[in-house]
């Protein structure tokens, strides 16, 4: 994973530099203090730059020292099911988009149905999931809104 580490390391360095600059631009605080609001962020930014550098050149050092590269857990597991991951992410994004627009119950039913359709390979099992897909959202809504008084979006059903 030395390529991924190198890219991550560079990204961390960039983040550190940007964070340093944002910290330098903070307005003057209303409390007169020995240590102002920019000091901790500067320390953290400095640490990020150093750690990013170590991460980026670490594999090179290790190779130079003749140590074997360590496989990550991911490499041991093999390539992921990218389609499934993207489907879950797209589903979550759509779910979030619809959350307040159509309301909790409807968007949740849709989301669960979609996720199960993607992840459950055995189509004969689909009907069995139906009660959960229909009942869980309603039960959660009743539990949170009626019993606990916590607001969940009612949406077009409300």
């Amino acid at each position: 994973m030395s390529v991924a580490d190198r890219i991550t390391g560079l990204a961390i360095i960039v983040l550190g530099v940007a964070y340093w600059r944002a910290a330098s631009a903070l307005p003057k605080p209303l409390l007169q203090q020995a240590v102002g609001p920019e000091v901790f962020p500067h320390l953290i930014a400095g640490a990020l730059v150093v750690l990013g550098t170590v991460l980026a050149i670490g594999p090179l050092l290790r190779r130079a020292a003749g140590w074997p590269a360590r496989p990550t857990e991911a490499e041991l597991e093999g390539p992921p099911d990218v389609a499934a991951i993207l489907a879950v992410l797209a589903g979550l994004a759509l779910y979030t988009f619809l959350y307040e627009r159509v309301g909790f119950i409807l968007s949740t039913v849709l989301f669960m149905a979609g996720e199960i359709a993607v992840l459950e390979v055995d189509r004969r099992r689909w009907p069995w999931a139906l009660p959960v897909v229909l009942l869980l959202p309603v039960a959660l809504y009743l539990l949170f809104v009626t019993l606990l008084g916590v607001t969940l979006p009612a949406g077009i059903l409300g």
């Binding site: 307005p27 003057k28 209303l30 409390l31 007169q32 009626t146 019993l147 606990l148 008084g149 607001t151």
Partner: protein
């Protein structure tokens, strides 16, 4: 599992019954305007916060004395020190008559500091319900004799006494700035240590700071227990609890400082709705329950309906001065 659901639904019935729903009873004067359905009282912070407590206390008094004939729900909209709730009032509830917001000093300070785009001018002031006064205190064994002594020491060397309060721009901090700024001190030179809420009492008791400014309510018990020495209070008159403690004004610094609590409506709230709530809150503050709750939370009686808008304008000027002295408009 069935059992568990049953008992929690019983608990929920409790909520519904006690908190929100007031059973409508037959009313005599049908000509009088009243909200039609459920009314929302918004609080810009979570349950248990100061705003939430204010709203629920007022509601408790109204419920106990049957002031209202329609249901009220307290809705918590936390975020941005109340700025999110204010923005929702302005943007989503314009002209409505069934939603009002409980608020206090941050309505003013957020606008001045630029952390909220909207201020009191964007809303419809309804009533000021109560006020909180502040207490300047030192540990019981402190050699600071009285308020004048404290000011004299600070005048000689502003860093000689470390003072604790809340972090700016919250109320305890503003109170301290008003008091010490009013005494002619350069507040930017003070050794002022900001704490989160109640932690300041611990810091003073533990001797980590030498003086502190906090609400009368929070310090009262420590004074009664003999652990703190009260120097002065910031209200217009002496506190009922501390008749022997002079006000800041009596001690030679011409400052009265309070945090107010009140309700505002959305922009363009109908006149009859405004009149309705002013009258209902007017009835509420006369109830025994409200009196008791006020005493419990150490809120001073400060009801004001007409003229609340003028008070807010005045408060806005006062806070602008305080924040300016503390350096808000420098380097921005």
């Amino acid at each position: 599992m069935r059992n568990t659901l049953r008992s929690s639904s019983r608990a929920a019935l409790g909520v519904v019954a006690v908190l929100a729903v007031l059973v409508a009873t037959a009313l005599g004067a049908s000509a009088e305007w009243a909200p039609k359905g459920n009314v929302s009282w918004m609080a810009g912070a979570g349950p248990g916060s100061g705003w939430d407590t204010t709203a629920r206390a007022a509601l408790q008094a109204m419920t106990a004395h049957k002031v209202l004939k329609h249901p009220v729900t307290v809705v918590n909209k936390p975020g941005g020190a109340g700025a999110i709730a204010v923005a929702e009032m302005v943007n989503q509830h314009k002209g409505k008559d069934d939603v009002i917001l409980v608020t206090s000093l941050p309505l003013i300070t957020n606008k001045i500091m630029g952390t909220s785009p909207y201020g009191y001018k964007n809303l419809t002031p309804i009533v000021r319900l109560a006020a909180t006064h502040y207490l300047v205190a030192v540990p019981a064994n402190s050699d600071i004799k009285d308020f004048k002594d404290l000011i004299a020491r600070l005048r000689k060397d502003p860093k000689s006494v470390s003072i604790g309060g809340s972090t700016p721009p919250a109320d305890d901090w503003a109170a301290a700035m008003a008091v010490f700024g009013g005494a002619g001190l350069d507040v930017t030179k003070l050794k002022f240590i900001g704490y989160d809420g109640a932690q300041v009492a611990g810091a003073l008791l533990g001797g980590h700071i030498q003086a502190a400014v906090n609400t009368v309510g929070e310090f009262a018990q420590h004074v009664e227990a003999g652990k703190m020495k009260p120097l002065a209070t910031t209200g217009p008159e002496r506190e009922p609890k501390f008749q022997s403690v002079p006000t800041v004004k009596e001690s030679g610094v011409d400052v009265v400082f309070m945090n107010w609590r009140g309700f505002v409506g959305p922009p363009g709230m109908p006149k009859e709705a405004l009149a309705y709530w002013q009258q209902k809150f007017g009835e509420t503050v006369k109830t025994q329950t409200w009196e008791d709750l006020r005493a419990r939370y150490s809120w001073a009686d400060a009801f004001m309906a007409d003229g609340f808008d003028r008070f807010l304008a005045e408060n806005d000027r006062l806070m602008s001065d305080i924040l300016k002295n503390a350096g808000v408009f420098k380097k921005k």
